[in-house]
Structure formats: C-alpha cells, structure tokens
C-alpha cells in the first residue's frame, strides 16, 4: 500500500492530496497542466518537502511531518523519470544507465541491463554523450536509467510524451510486465488517455492541487466531471473478462464477461486468464433488430437504461448487457429517428475492442 496524504502551499497554489495507491500496480495522476501532478511526484521522491502530512510506501515511512520523519532522497529508492530528462552531461549514455544500477545494493538485479537497452532501442547510443542525442533518445535513456536503479517504486512524469507511437507500443507492454511480474508500483503522469487506461489500476484526477476523483480506473475515467480533462471522445467502458476461446485461424480470441461474449484480436494469454477489455462509447452503434450480413463481429443484446441528451449533436446512451453496463454515444438525430428510450431492447454493435493484458486487483482507493 502506498499512502499519500500531503499538504503543500506555494504562492497561488495549494496542494492538498490524500489517496492510497495499490502496492503493486499503476496509479495514474491525471489532470490539466499546473494541477500539481509533478509536485506530488516530487514529494514522494523527497525532492520537495510537503508542509504537512505523511507518505508511506510499502510500509516504510518516507515522510511524516508529525513524527518529524523525512527519509533522504537516496534512501527512498525511487526510480524517477523526470519531465525533463536530466541526463548527466559528463557521462556516456552507458555510464548514465549504469549510474543507478551500480548504486543499487541488491545482489540480484531483477531489471537487466541488456533487456532494458534492447527494449528502449538505445544499444547504438551507449558510447554517445547526452548532448548528441535527440529529444526522444534522451528520454529513452532517462527511462532506462531509472529502471536500472532497481527501484522499489517507479515515478514517471510524462515519460512517453516525446516518443513515437511505435516506440510507445514497445515500451508500454514492458511497463505492464514490470507492474505485473515484479510487483513494482508505479506513479504515472500522462496526458494520454490511452496510456492511462491501458496501464493504470487507480486514477487520481487532480484539479488545482486537489483530487477531483480517486478510484479504480474504470470508475474514474467514465465520470462526467473529468470529461474536460480527457476530452469527450474517449469515454468508454471497461469490462472485466475471462479468455474463453482462441481461434488461431482468424487470430481472434473470445472473451466472456458478465453478460456476453466479445471477439477480439488474439490475446497471448491462456484460456481462463482474466483480462480487461475497453469499449469506447463512440465505438458502440445501436440497431433495433439484430443486423445481418454486417462485418461487425460483436453483436450484443442489450437494453437501454438511460438516454442523456447532450449539447451538440450527441446523446449518451447507457446500456445494460446481461449484468454489465455499457456506454454508447450516438447522435441525437439517431435517438429521434430510432426513438431510442429507456427500456427498449436493442442490439449493440461493437466494432473494436482494446484489450488490456490483465485484470486489476485494486488496492482500494483511500
């Protein structure tokens, strides 16, 4: 369990944040620019001292204003990927990477040099000096350096913002493996909803230094009050599923959830594994009768629970599929044309589904 409960005042800005993050999982700090994300991470790292409060990580008290405890930065053993990369200019890329590794007192280093270098694609840069690196290269080295310090807790401040999609697509699964395989807790700042949804177990949405919403990612990301932060197009539903079948010929897998089945691109997990599937509201279309001869492979029998007209062209539809709620976004025009209303039985056409590699076991939010 990671407990954070801190207060910190600056001219024109007050941070007052209390939340609990799972001991082995990713906690995303979400919020607009200037909301206090970096400040929280700095407090956990010991770089900034809160005025009051407590920070406890895995049972170890990092900071406790009342008990006058303030563990020194180096003894906190956090791997901090800074918003600016902060590579040591006088050391080669390799020496930068080794800096923390050498100083880690673990005899067995679970995070290996070769693996990290390979993952980040920085093998050809090892002999270079930081000032000859491009922005993205620098950021990758910074990530590697933090990982190799064999941290007990990873603090990542927009680590992937400077990277291309393809590189992100390589690094994200690795972070997932770290999270799952090593029980490494991660505090993660990102503006990219995709990343947060994919990685996070708990989301702390901040506004003006105060948590706006804290909770499991599925909960928080669908709350209307955080729409201004994530943008409306990314509203969706997270479904907890079990892998029930693989279809090798078509490279598809079937997932079962409380209420139906979804066919998704093959997931590399054994049958019976728990996975999380994410359905964006705008990827769900509705039909009054079961559509035939359509390429959409997921057709779910559903019932409309609620129809919320919005400003602009859209309406939010809340569906129930078996026992599961599912959000859909359609135009208001469609609502009228099809006379969609609560209680109506419809078919939900789900064109695409994003699947996360595991089911979360939340550390309950504080």
């Amino acid at each position: 369990m990671i407990e954070i409960d801190i207060r910190l005042r600056r001219p024109g800005f007050t941070l007052e944040a209390a939340f609990t993050a799972p001991e082995a999982g990713v906690t995303a700090l979400f919020g607009r620019s200037g909301a206090g994300k970096t400040t929280i991470i700095q407090a956990v790292a010991g770089v900034v001292r809160p005025d009051a409060g407590r920070i406890v990580v895995k049972g170890e008290v990092y900071f406790d204003a009342a008990a006058r405890i303030d563990l020194s930065i180096e003894r906190r053993r956090v791997g901090y990927v800074f918003q600016d990369s902060r590579l040591f200019p006088h050391l080669s890329v390799e020496s930068n990477l080794r800096y923390g590794e050498r100083r880690s007192r673990l005899s067995h280093k679970p995070i290996g040099f070769a693996a990290v270098v390979d993952l980040l694609g920085i093998g050809h840069l090892l002999g270079r000096r930081p000032h000859t690196l491009s922005g993205g290269e620098r950021q990758r080295v910074a990530i590697g350096r933090a990982l190799l310090s064999q941290p007990r807790l990873l603090l990542m401040d927009e680590p992937l913002a400077a990277l291309d999609e393809a590189r992100k697509a390589e690094i994200l699964p690795y972070l997932e493996r770290l999270r799952d395989g090593m029980g490494l807790p991660i505090l993660y700042v990102s503006h990219a909803v995709d990343e947060v949804l994919r990685l996070a177990d708990v989301v702390v949405a901040l506004r003006d230094g105060r948590p706006l919403a804290i909770g499991p990612v599925a909960d928080v990301m669908s709350r209307p009050e955080i729409l201004p932060v994530i943008g409306r197009f990314d509203v969706g539903t997270l479904l907890e599923c079990v892998v029930s079948r693989h279809d090798g010929d078509y490279a598809l897998s079937t997932l079962t959830f409380a209420g139906g089945e979804l066919r998704v691109p093959q997931v590399a997990m054994p049958i019976g594994s728990a996975v999380r599937a994410r359905v964006r509201a705008r990827d769900v279309a509705l039909a009054l009768a079961r559509p035939e001869g359509v390429s959409v492979s997921n057709l779910l029998a559903a019932r409309i629970e609620a129809v919320r007209q919005q400003e602009g062209p859209y309406a939010d539809i809340e569906l129930v599929v078996g026992e599961t709620r599912l959000a859909a976004t359609v135009t208001r025009e469609s609502v009228d044309r099809l006379t969609l209303r609560p209680g109506l039985a419809v078919w939900a056409m789900v064109k695409s589904v994003a699947v996360e590699s595991r089911s979360p076991d939340f550390g309950g939010p504080g």
């Binding site: 020194s72 956090v78 800074f82 902060r86 800096y99 007192r105 350096r145 933090a146």
Partner: protein, 232 residues
Amino acid sequence: MDVLLTPDEWTAVYLSLKVAFWATFWSLPFAILTAWLLARTRFPGKGLFDGLIYLPLVLPKVVVGYILLLTLGARGFIGQYLDAWFGIKLIFSTAGATVAAAVVSFPLTVNAIRLALEAVDRGLETAARTLGASRLDVFISITLPLMLPGVLSGALLAIASALGEFGATITFVSNVEGKTRTIPLAIYSATHMPDGDAMALRLTVVSIVLAFGSLLLASLVDRRIRVLIGRT
C-alpha cells in the same frame, strides 16, 4: 642551460615551481570545501566566513605576511605549538613560503570554484540522489566533474598568483638562499640592483614562460574536460 640562467636563478625557478605546485595542491581541497560551504549550505556566521576568505586579497600582501608571522611564526600563537608539538617550523622555510602562497591565492581559487559550483544544475544532483547516490557520492560523481573547468581555472589562478607572490612570502619567511628565494624575490632583488636589469628581464621571461606553460597545460586539460562533459 646555464647559458640562459645562472645556477642561482635555476634554483629560484625550481623553488618557485615547487612552491606554486604544493601551495595549489594543498589548498585545492580546502578551496573546494570552502566553495561548497559557501555555495550550497547555510550556517550562522556565513557572512563573516565569506568575508574572511577574501581578506588576503584586500590586505596589502605585506600585511598578510606580517599576520602570518604573528600567527604561524616560531613565536606565533599557533606557530609555537606547531613547533612544540610537531616540530614544524614554517618561518624561513620552503614550507612557509608555500603557506604564504597558498593563503594569498586562496580567495582566488575559492572564487573560481564557487562560480563553477553555482553553475552546476542542481536538478542533476537531485536526479543522482534519486538514483541512490549519497550527498558525498553525488558531489564526487556529478558535481565535481561538472565543475572541473572551474576547479582547473581556480588551480590555474592559484598557480599563477603563487608564481607571482612576493609580499607575503618575503615578509613571512624572508629570503633564505635556496629555501625561500622564489622567482619574484629574485626579480625584486634584481630590480633593486643598479645593474640588475638584465637579470630581472631574464627572470621575467622565465615567469612568462612558466605562466604560458601552465596556461597551455590548463587549456589542454580544459578542452578535454569540456569534450567529456559535452560543453564544447
């Protein structure tokens, strides 16, 4: 080589180099420590301490030498114990000349190092600490290498001013042949002899050569350091 300089003059050159080298060598760690205290810490009496550091610069060197005499001379209030307890006699000795040179160049060294230290990005130090390095480790592995140009510049100033130091040296340790007669003393003597111009000129040229030599060395080292820390 005797064509160029007399044996006495060679002795003076050798002695000057020795004094300048050791004065710099011994004062550098203290200068670094002092610069660090001034740049990175707060403590009561810091202003006073800061002022004290600059004193040898502000005071006429002869006064500095006189103060050294009062404190570190064989009868001085520190010197007598140095003598009684450790058998160290600074007065009239090369060691004393070294101390005089070190004291006079100290503010210059500290100032150069301090400026360099203040230019080191503290964010890098913080980053190093998050990677598990203790304060001391950070200082050695990050701060010190990054401020090396300043340290070098400070050492160069120290060597240069030690090579040129006259007033404090002669007042504190006087001129004892082969022990404390550095180039400036020899030049001083030469300029006070009616027929000393030629000798003064020769020794001045030697000083200049030494200065350029140390500068050249320093700029070579500096370039290497800059390449290493990527500040080309």
